[in-house]
Subunit: 232 residues, 2 copies
């Protein structure tokens, strides 16, 4: 069986799947431009603190932030975000290991974005460092979130993600005193793949660095408004 020389018909399913995704991503991008929303695609491991960071961001951005939560199963994360004061829509993928642009398009229809202004839309992807990295959702910022307890060797292990991100967020920095984690190594390895990456250090739990990250997001959103005004 293992040494069979019989020629096989090989069907590459990756390209058509990604091409179809790109159609939906382009439509999402058009909607985001029309609404002058800044959109983040947040990718990190299970338990890297994505939802806790969003709860901390809600204390700065209030209802200017809207969240799409991606999980394999459960509605817990959307409920947490709603309790923090922001509108949220939960996508349950029921087994799928990443969000795609079509699922996000469906979520956008459900969110009723004309009800109140959405300045910053955060899409929290399924907890996974591998599969979500290939799927464009139409976002402006692809955020790679790496938490201190995961260890400082992860960037080169998951290059598909860390070479594509616009921003690296090192999260759970409150745990630095208890763990061996070389932040400078992480930044240097990420820059070796990805020279332009911006870096933020945060603790969703204590709030450290979250104000700075939110200020950056509002500045990015202001640039979108300026660009729109210059087109008008």
């Amino acid at each position: 069986m293992r040494n069979s020389t019989k020629p096989r018909k090989v069907v590459d399913i990756t390209r058509p799947v990604l091409a179809k995704n790109e159609e939906f991503a382009a439509a999402n991008r058009g909607l985001f431009r029309d609404k002058a929303m800044l959109v983040l695609n947040v990718i990190g491991s299970p338990g890297s603190g994505k939802t806790t960071l969003l709860e901390a961001m809600a204390r700065h951005l209030h209802d200017a932030m809207v969240v799409i939560e991606g999980d394999v199963q459960t509605r817990r994360d959307a409920e947490r975000i709603e309790q923090a004061g922001c509108r949220a829509y939960q996508i349950e993928t029921h087994g799928a290991c990443h969000l795609d642009a079509k699922a996000v398009a469906h979520a956008l229809e459900q969110l009723d974005l004309d009800r109140g202004e959405c300045e910053v839309l955060v899409i929290e992807n399924v907890g996974n460092l591998i599969c979500p990295s290939s799927f464009d959702l139409g976002e402006h910022l692809k955020i790679g979130l790496l938490s201190v307890p995961e260890g400082d060797d992860k960037v080169l292990k998951y290059p598909s993600l860390f070479s594509r991100i616009s921003d690296l967020v090192v999260n759970k920095i409150d745990l630095l005193p208890h763990l061996t984690f070389d932040v400078e190594r992480v930044i240097a390895e990420c820059r070796s793949l990805n020279g332009d990456v911006r870096v933020f250090k945060t603790s969703g739990k204590t709030g450290e660095g979250v104000d700075n990250f939110c200020r950056f997001l509002l500045d990015e959103r202001a640039k979108i408004l300026v660009a729109r005004a210059s087109r008008a």
Copy 2:
């Protein structure tokens, strides 16, 4: 585009992929039986401490343990295991989000298992709680490793894994004093999916609980020897 009613030909690729995997898994299982090896498939998030736990296990099992390391990229983990005194073979998946039984079969050929006895073979899967859960590698024990910093809400979020495991290992218990993590909740939620699951608590860093886990593995291996003797 989104409301197209044109019928599409849908090709389900999941079933043939898994059927092909099952052929290789069965062959692996036959080899494991011939060699009377106990085989573990260890599945956990990136940074959940899989490799550090294996290093701690090496201090108990010495060269009776052989390791197959799965990573998207880098050979770092196999090097760590070799430094801990065990034979190791690194599979780099180059983008793939899980190990399959064929890749393990290839690794087994490279490992030269007749050189010294291998009592316990540990296959450390790619860091991912989703995709590896569907792929049988031919193992005896499917280990779900969940680390304390990931949070106590992960079992119901990743039910495909936690409903299929034989053993739950709660790792990084040295961090319990610094974090909010309800071990009993995790165990109860896992048992709600999976009534027969065994539970171990470990710290790869301090070694706590690792002796107990290794004793369990050697007992399981002894059962394999007894079963073989009774067949002879």
